[in-house]
């Protein structure tokens, strides 16, 4: 039984590393990419159980990534958790599962991930 997988799309290396470390500590299978394009490619190649999505990205922005994930059949149902310093934009044009404002406390992100997809090795436990 493989653990739940989380895809982190985040351009800031330190924050990306922080999220990866914290989620890996909880035994999630975490992969991380710095751009929206790379994120879409990774999601298509191996659809994750959850996407942590930054909004301000080089190239296409987070909302565009979310829209394309929804449009792609194999990723259409993957829940997306937006983690961004942007918390006052006009819109949840694309429905996402939740939003976390930066700066965040890692514990808050962890509890939101848990609430969305459960523990990493739910079946095995």
């Amino acid at each position: 039984v493989s653990p739940s997988s989380v895809l982190v799309i985040e351009d800031d290396a330190d924050i990306r590393n922080l999220l990866v470390t914290r989620l890996a500590r909880l035994d999630y299978r975490v992969s991380a990419v710095p751009t929206g394009e790379a994120g879409l490619e990774a999601a298509r190649a191996d659809p994750p159980d959850l996407v942590l999505l930054d909004l301000l990205l080089p190239g296409i922005d987070g909302w565009e990534v979310a829209r394309r994930l929804r449009a792609e059949p194999c990723t259409a149902t993957v829940p997306v958790l937006v983690v961004s310093i942007v918390d006052d934009d006009a819109g949840d044009e694309v429905e996402v599962m939740g939003r976390v404002a930066k700066p965040f406390r890692a514990r808050d992100v962890e509890s939101m991930v848990l609430a969305l997809i459960g523990p990493a090795l739910a079946e095995g436990a």
């Binding site: 800031d12 922080l18 310093i85 006052d88 890692a106």
Partner: protein, 628 residues
Amino acid sequence: VPVLRAHSVARMLQLAFGVPIACILLAGLAGLGALWRVDRSMAELADRLPHIREHNAAALQALLDGEDFPQHLLEARELAGGDAELVAAIDEQLATGTRWLEEDDRRLLDAYRTLDAETTSLLDHRVTAADADVTRTFALSGIGVGAIALAAAACGWITATRATRRVTQPLDRLRNIVSHLGEGHLSARVVPDGPLEIRELAESINDLATHTELLQFLHRERLDREKLQNHVARRVREELDPNTILERCVEALGPALEVDRVVIRLLDDDGIGPVHSVWVAPGVPPMPDVQRGRPTGRMAQAFLDSVLRTETVAIDDMSMFEEVIPADYRGDTRALLAVPLAAAANDVGLLILHDVEGPRAWSLQAPLIEGLARDIAAALAHAFAYQRLQELDREKATFVSSVSHELRTPLTSIIGYVEMLADGDAGPLQPEQRQLLDVVERSTVRLLTLIEDLLTLSRIESGSFVSSFAEVDLAAVLDGAREALEPVLAGRDIRLELTVDDGLPPLWADAGQLERVVFNLVSNAAKFSPDGAAVSVQAYRDGDDVVLAVVDRGIGIPLEEQDKLFTRFFRSSTSTSMAIQGTGLGLAIVRTIVEQHQGAVSVVSVPNAGTTVRVVLPSAVRQPMEVR
């Protein structure tokens, strides 16, 4: 001695009264003459003729009696005096009587008797004549005096009529004109007529009317000018956009100044720029493109000088300057006035007026136009300043917003990695290390609060600070706030006493913003309380409202500063004197949030005793109200 001028009233009166007076004098003289004559005839009748008759009779008796008859005749002759016929008759009697005495001829006595009878008859005739003369003289003098009196009366009547016509009527006309003038009909004039003085008076009145008319014209002119100035000033003052101001200006000035084109050129780094705004009167050809560009040659220099020296260029007739102003620039413009637009020594540009029908004398209108140009320039300067201010404000908002966002990214890493250290991700921590990390954590929270406050302020200012309303449980909000406040309170050893009434109704609110309100109020209360003190937060129901009270026993706020508390950047004198940190944004944000929730916030503070901040929020029972 008054000088009697020809055709004067005095002369006329002299003539008018002189004639009746002469008539009256004449009548008097005639009367006197008649009286004298009557007196004489009466004297003759009374004295002379009876005596002559007596002497004549006595002479006849004396002749017959043989006495001295010549003596009687000589006396009669004496009395007859100048009456030649009578004297001749008496002389003949004397001669005949004397001859009868000498010759004693009977015939001579008869002749004497005949002569005596003749003389007597002559005397009778004389009496009759004198009698008739008296009667006639009375009749004649009566008729004469009557006629002269009639003539005097006629003269009087004629004089009265003439006086009426020649004096009263012109005076009447003068009076009418003066009252007409008085009613404001200043164009009324009187035709000089009648005697000299009245004509002179009429001319003076006409002069006065002309003068008054001129004054009134000047007055109206000034009123018109003021009206125009007010009109233009009002139109430009209502606007804050420089382009709109200039459009309004040319539209208002053109018809008011009765010119054919109104052009505005602005000054730029290269001198006088191309046409910025233009107004063209109906029926006047538009400005050719060659004129719309930058002015060239000597015209450009003249314009630039005009602006730099703040002097008006007035060309009454462009054709006089054929050699100076190029024909293509001149175009159909006959007269041109260029007035600099300068405000407080800052040159802005040029206001240029064209008259295609000219030549036109600008000198009368120039002061007015210069005044208008000053108004326009002042309005423009204000508009430019306002525009710059708005730009600066926008830049500031953008700057604050982007800086706040930029600051949040590294802060995310700091908070996250401190948390990792604290959670032992990098190995277990010694107690000393834990203490050091607590300091970092507290400072990080403070920094985060500062950034959040700044960001919130920039959102409030840009109008993008909106609340997303939902049903909210205040107890949950207070729990969240307590957790967030933990690092702030822990370092000061301040206890947070939460008292939440059971059965609080849900609120229609933005949970994040309410947590912010609690966070700001409690951290404020803690800041102004001594270490180890308690801050109490009470939440209770008051009718359909929910009240949130934050109570401290701190240093309080001076009374005179309490009404400024909710002004952004306001910091109380106690906070600055005691070096308590803060940005002065916390309460301003609290007020904004509470107002967006249709609530109210109030403060009761006693210096050195403590402060209570009370927030009243309408419950969801009374709401939901659509906000923003």
